[in-house]
């Protein structure tokens, strides 16, 4: 057993002199991921949801989610697979349509908060101990100290019914964890030889940060993005349930909110199906996220 040096994980191909075949970290990751059965099941389910969301987005299915011609609280039947709600809307169509809502929110929030977290985390890490780091840390501290749902309510109020208030609030708070992780990684990376070498030959700081260091945090960003994606979907459901989330459209959270009145009357279609769809996606994404985390863990990858 030999100790493993904490080497940069991406630039291996750069230092590869071609004299010997060395498998890239991404190839190793894919290899390891494919061997993780739970992870692959999770990925398959996520892809299935994604296809459903794309279908909704293209108008292939669930186009009738807003129609109100059905009977009130119809039970499950061949015509209405998941029954109908109080105004005769097809619960199946609404549950399917909500998949698109979930992916929209998840993707927007995950991508934006990851980008912001990466940028600010990289800056804070590279300039650690300076006023730049102080300001970014202070900002993170302030945002983290505000209760999330209170913050969203405040943002929603301040933006006066803006349909993106929920997205803005989530991005504003979700980037901080990513930023903190990236900062730590960058503090470690900036003392590596390849960074010192870049400095020595006069590479500008901006280029060092964004071309040489940040790409080496990609494994963190990828895992973090999947975690934020799930968190955003769950938050959307909670916020919509509270009336602070989706305004025009439908989501599983809104369906569950509708169900609060229905369950007392003995109708569970909205509650059951929205919960099942939400559970399926969140569970699958968590399984995939865990597998990805394991596969991208530098120590585990390197030790393979």
């Amino acid at each position: 057993m030999s100790s493993v040096a904490p080497e940069p994980v991406v630039d291996e191909t750069v230092v590869d002199d071609g004299s010997a075949h060395r498998e890239s970290i991404w190839a190793k990751t894919v290899y390891k991921l494919r061997r993780d059965r739970l992870g692959m099941v999770g990925l398959s389910v996520v892809l299935l949801y994604f296809i459903v969301a794309i279908g909704v987005w293209l108008g292939i299915w669930a186009t009738e989610w807003g129609d109100v011609e059905g009977p009130k609280w119809a039970p499950m039947s061949a015509e209405y697979w998941f029954g109908t709600n109080i105004i005769g809307q097809d619960v199946f169509a609404r549950a399917i349509y909500s998949t698109k809502t979930a992916f929209e929110v998840g993707l927007v929030v995950a991508v934006l908060s990851t980008i912001i977290g990466a940028l600010l985390g990289a800056l804070a890490g590279f300039f650690s101990g300076t006023w730049i780091d102080e300001i970014i840390l202070w900002l993170k501290g302030v945002l983290d100290s505000i209760p999330f749902y209170l913050f969203v309510a405040a943002v929603a109020f301040a933006l006066s019914g803006n349909p993106y208030a929920m997205h803005i609030a989530m991005v504003s708070t979700f980037w901080t964890t990513t930023g903190r992780l990236v900062r730590g990684e960058v503090i470690k990376l900036k003392n590596f030889e390849f960074v010192e070498a870049a400095r020595a030959i006069g590479v500008p700081q901006v280029v060092i940060i964004f071309r040489h260091i940040l790409p080496n945090t990609f494994h963190i960003l990828l895992v973090q993005a999947t975690i934020v994606f799930v968190a955003a979907i769950k938050s959307e459901v909670i916020l919509s349930f509270l009336g602070l989330g989706v305004q025009d459209g439908v989501s599983w959270g809104l369906m569950i909110a509708e169900s609060t009145q229905e369950v007392l009357a003995g109708f569970f279609n909205n509650f059951v199906w929205a919960s099942v769809f939400l559970f399926g996606l969140v569970m699958a994404f968590n399984m995939f996220s865990d597998a990805l985390q394991d596969a991208l863990d530098p120590r585990k990858v390197a030790s393979e």
Partner: protein, 604 residues
């Protein structure tokens, strides 16, 4: 050791018994009579000048006094003197009212008064209280009731609202006599003096507490407030409240329809009968229902829509299941009000437009929306099919209601709606964007989705019908008042049983920020309104009211309407005949609770 064990057992037994009694009396002293009422919203303010909704009115009427009130049990509703000694003496030309108030009535003790002792209520307090509505600093919301009606009152406002300046038409002749001089006859005046807006407020309290009066009432009503927050208000009996034995026959008692309530038990006794009155504000219907059925919390609830089928064995006639009948008292009645929608005619996309052709097309568009609206399904979805759908803006509860009126405006006809759109040259490409305001509640949202779904069916693209959410009812009310929404969807509870109270919602001069949120302006309607506003109830006035109603229908201004049937339940140990309509807050002082009534947890 043995003694110690027995002592412990005794302590536990006493403690448990005590807790049980405490629990059975809603957490209050078991020797007190406590009634816990429930409302679905909290009041916007406890200050009479801002008692603009049914919730505020309920509370204000229990803390303050009004000159007149509605009889507790009489249906149809009837007015009676309250703080006034008798009905007003009215001059022959119907322009001068003399009202004498009772002597020896005192405000509650409060630090605002000299030595903290409540002084006597005098006529000048009424003058001061009405003036407050016209004082711009007070931001009063009830001025519309008396605007342009009382000699010199509007001028008083214009000249700077100096409270020491006398008004010719609003004076205290002596310590206990009020003189009101009207510009023109105002048959509804006495009704306005039953409303929380007209409650008597002592000047000392306003000057001492200022804005704090919104949460700290100082009145002469049957109760005094001991605590108030957004979840509940707690009153205790006003021990100084005047002793006036109840005559239930005078109050309109009908043994056939009201005998089950047990109100005969209050005959000859002086209200208030409760030591503690607590009103819980529970917006979520599920939470309110659970609290009610739990048995040891709120003792009254309106039945939520989703429970109607569970608690009724028949909808026609409305009959409770045996289980409900065994556990609770129930009363069902049509509300004194209605739910409707209206276009904001100030929006040129839908209402008045400088281009006559566009105005014509806009009317066809509005008519098409009306024909696309399915009142029958709205009734079935949200009102358990128990509401009464009616055309126009005169609801069934008022005597001027015309049951023979054509139902064209409340019967859905998709093909006719499409034809109207085509006649107006409207296509999916040129229909204007319609912004529909809602609060963030589930039901509001479902109203919107149902509306959008129906319009989609007549060819109005769903992406042209946008939702705009507001955090609270107050926020959306402000948007209506500021005329920032093209479409208004609201309910209106009558302040008094006269169609004038709904017709004024479409009277031109009442446009935004007044009560005419539709900003409807029709010369004939306005002339008829002015003409009828000085008329006493008569067949001729009813005919003119009905003509005004028809004008609103023909102009396709309002998608209207439905009067909901309210089903109320209350615990069997509560002696009451509840009403959240016109009698509103007045009934609470007559509520009594049978003591020693065992109340056990009883979930349904």
């Amino acid at each position: 050791m043995r003694n110690l064990v027995w002592s412990l057992i005794a302590v536990i037994a006493v403690g448990t018994t005590g807790c049980g009694q405490e629990q059975r009396n809603n957490g209050f002293d078991p020797n007190l009579k406590v009634y816990r009422h429930a409302m679905d919203q909290s009041p916007s303010s406890l200050d009479p000048v801002q008692a603009s909704n049914v919730y505020a009115n309920h509370v204000v009427l229990n803390a303050y006094d009004t000159l007149f009130a509605f009889k507790y049990l009489a249906r149809p509703y009837e007015v009676k003197p309250n703080l006034a000694v008798d009905f007003p003496e009215i001059s022959d030309d119907l322009l001068e009212y003399r009202i004498r108030i009772k002597e020896g009535v005192h405000y509650i003790d409060d630090p605002a008064f000299a030595d903290g002792v409540g002084r006597e209520v005098i006529a000048e307090d009424f003058i001061y209280s009405i003036k407050r509505h016209f004082d711009p600093k007070m931001r009063g919301q009830g001025a519309w009731l008396w605007q342009g009606r009382i000699v010199g009152l509007d001028e008083w406002k214009e000249s700077g609202a100096d409270y020491d300046q006398e008004i010719e038409g609003l004076r205290a002749i002596d310590r206990h006599t009020i003189l009101i001089k009207l510009i023109r006859p105002y048959p509804q005046l006495i009704f306005t003096l039953t409303m929380g807006y007209s409650a008597l407020v002592p000047r000392e309290a306003v000057e001492t507490y200022g804005l704090e009066l919104a949460s700290r009432p100082v009145g002469s009503g049957p109760f005094r407030v001991t605590s108030y927050d957004t979840s509940k208000i707690v009153f205790e009996k006003n021990v100084k409240f005047r002793q006036e034995p109840v005559d239930i026959w005078y109050e309109g008692y009908n043994p056939e329809t009201q005998g089950f309530t047990g109100v005969e038990a209050i005959q000859g006794r002086s209200p208030p009968f409760l030591d503690i009155l607590e009103i819980d504000f529970i917006a979520e219907s599920a939470a309110r229902w659970n609290s009610f059925t739990k048995g040891d919390e709120v003792q009254y609830t309106g039945v939520p829509n989703e429970q109607v089928d569970n608690i009724l064995s028949s909808k026609d006639p409305i009959t409770p299941t045996q289980e409900i009948a065994d556990r609770y008292h129930m009363y069902a009645g049509v509300e004194a009000g209605f739910v409707f929608q209206a276009f904001n005619m100030d929006f040129p996309e839908f209402g008045y437009n400088d281009d006559p052709d566009r105005s014509r097309r806009n009317k066809l568009l509005r008519c098409a929306v009306i024909k696309g609206f399915d009142w029958s399904k709205r009734n079935e979805s949200f009102y358990s099919g128990l509401g009464i759908v009616f055309p126009g803006i005169i609801p069934p509860v008022v005597p001027e209601f015309d049951p023979e009126l054509s139902r064209w405006s409340v019967e859905r006809d998709v093909e006719e709606a499409k034809r109207l759109l085509a006649e107006g040259g409207w296509t999916a490409d040129n229909l204007p964007e319609l912004v529909y305001g809602t609060t963030s509640s589930v039901t509001s949202r479902q109203f919107f989705e149902q509306f959008r779904g129906w319009l989609k069916k007549i060819g109005y693209p769903s992406d042209r019908i946008k939702i705009k959410q507001f955090a609270t009812f107050g926020d959306i009310s402000r948007a209506w008042k500021n005329s920032t929404l093209p479409f208004v969807a609201k309910g209106w509870g009558l302040d008094f049983p006269d169609a004038e109270n709904t017709l004024q919602l479409f009277y031109g001069p009442n446009g935004s920020p007044g009560s005419n949120d539709a900003n409807y302006r029709n010369r004939e309607f306005d002339e008829l309104y002015r003409k009828t506003s000085v008329m006493l109830p008569s067949p001729e006035r009813s005919k003119l009211y009905q003509r005004m109603n028809k004008l609103v229908i023909d102009d396709c201004v309002a998608v209207s309407g439905i009067s909901r049937t309210r089903i109320m339940l209350w615990h069997k140990n509560v002696i009451a005949f509840p009403d959240r309509e016109i009698v509103g807050g007045f009934f609470l002082k007559y509520v009594d609770v049978e003591k020693q009534q065992p109340v056990e947890g009883e979930g349904t």
